[in-house]
Symmetry: C2
Subunit: 242 residues, 2 copies
């Protein structure tokens, strides 16, 4: 009898393992791309600091002075572009990536097409999911933010920003894609430069916007998989001409 | 002097005409498809009628008894599926299309790919833009609705429904596409059956959802162009397998 129970337990374990493997394989192979699991970070930026003033201006419809360039003595220096924290760091654009990796521990991924798997979508707003994406010789910052623009109604905002100048950003097109349950949602746009501040992109709504019900439809077990692809704008323009 | 003034006026008129022609051509040729201009209709459905009760149920999270099948004596009869009006009509599914055309004056368009050009997007909610679309041997109902799910924050909801049974609807995939200003938004899904009631699809948020700022980004002079394509689901499944 004991032998039978143990055998039955082993069979159950095997079935469970096979199911787990199948689930993981399905997520990976559905995209056929590198999957990056991104954990959420509770945003600390809305503490009463210099950025709170910028946020107030956004709400009042004034262009956000998110990064106070006029206060920077060396015009070549840019402030920290981390969307999570108000950080007093300043440096050249070329060293922003290493600052974000070392100080803010933001991961960086290589590859033209990746899958961003945001976990714990149920966490309360404000919450951010952030990675950097290295592609076509440049680095991009992908931000997924859960925010309550209207009290009691959290929404998800996803955007991609180039760690570079606005002129450089114009050379690229990024695509965010959700695909689940015979539903597909694609957003394609030119990335903004990190010098433009992610808060203003989100308050303008110029990004992929999901309300809670759509986010749930595309989520699997509390995680949202976003397929990301970056191309140079020439491809995009050629398509438009066709 | 009078001659000069008249000449100048004629030149201005010519410039204006050329500009109008250019604008129209741009909208048409950008899509390369049949463009259907759809005027808005202020929804009268929210008057205190039988559908108001259904709406209350939706708000309370109960499955909407939008069409009272239990009250229909002949189970082959379906109620009027017009999303605009509470209409006491009942009939067989095969004659719903002619009822919608004749009684509710909803236009019908032919073609696999069409452009739905909704005008006067600024009108206050609740407002509906509706056409029927004949394609692949079936008729579909396209509904764009401006509605305030959250008071003071109107949103746009777009969905496509098959004038047929849920089993028939499963054989198709519809795509709605917005494309303007180097931004592109695509929604792909299986159409729902008109027997399922458009109000519940919209309250579930299982459709293309646009907040006001995104709608403005994709609008041109107060009009929103939505590219529509319908395919059989076999194509969709084959793509997913690839």
């Amino acid at each position: 009898m004991l032998f039978f129970t143990q055998c039955f337990g082993a069979v159950l374990d095997l079935i469970h393992l096979r199911f787990q493997h199948y689930k993981a394989k399905r997520v990976f192979s559905a995209a056929g791309q590198l999957v990056c699991v991104v954990n959420p970070t509770h945003s600390l930026k809305y503490a009463p600091t210099r950025c709170a003033a910028a946020q107030t201006s956004v709400e009042q419809g004034i262009l956000p002075p998110c990064h106070h360039h006029e206060a920077v003595h060396d015009p070549q220096l840019v402030p920290c572009t981390c969307p999570l924290f108000s950080c007093p760091w300043e440096g050249h654009l070329e060293v922003v990536v290493s600052h974000l990796r070392q100080t803010h521990r933001i991961n960086i991924l290589q590859g033209a097409e990746i899958v961003f798997l945001a976990t714990d979508m149920h966490l309360p707003a404000p919450t951010d999911w952030i990675i950097m994406h290295s592609c076509l010789g440049h680095q991009f910052l992908l931000v997924l933010r859960k925010q309550e623009k209207y009290e009691g109604h959290p929404q998800f905002f996803a955007t991609m920003m180039l760690i570079g100048t606005p002129t450089q950003a114009d050379n690229f097109t990024y695509r965010l894609e959700l695909n689940r349950n015979q539903r597909r949602l694609k957003w394609e746009a030119t990335p903004r430069s990190v010098l433009e501040c992610v808060d203003s992109v989100i308050s303008d709504g110029d990004c992929l916007v999901l309300n809670t019900s759509l986010a749930q439809l595309f989520s699997d077990n509390g995680s949202l998989a976003i397929g990301i692809a970056i191309t140079t704008s020439k491809v995009h323009n050629a398509e438009a001409e066709m």
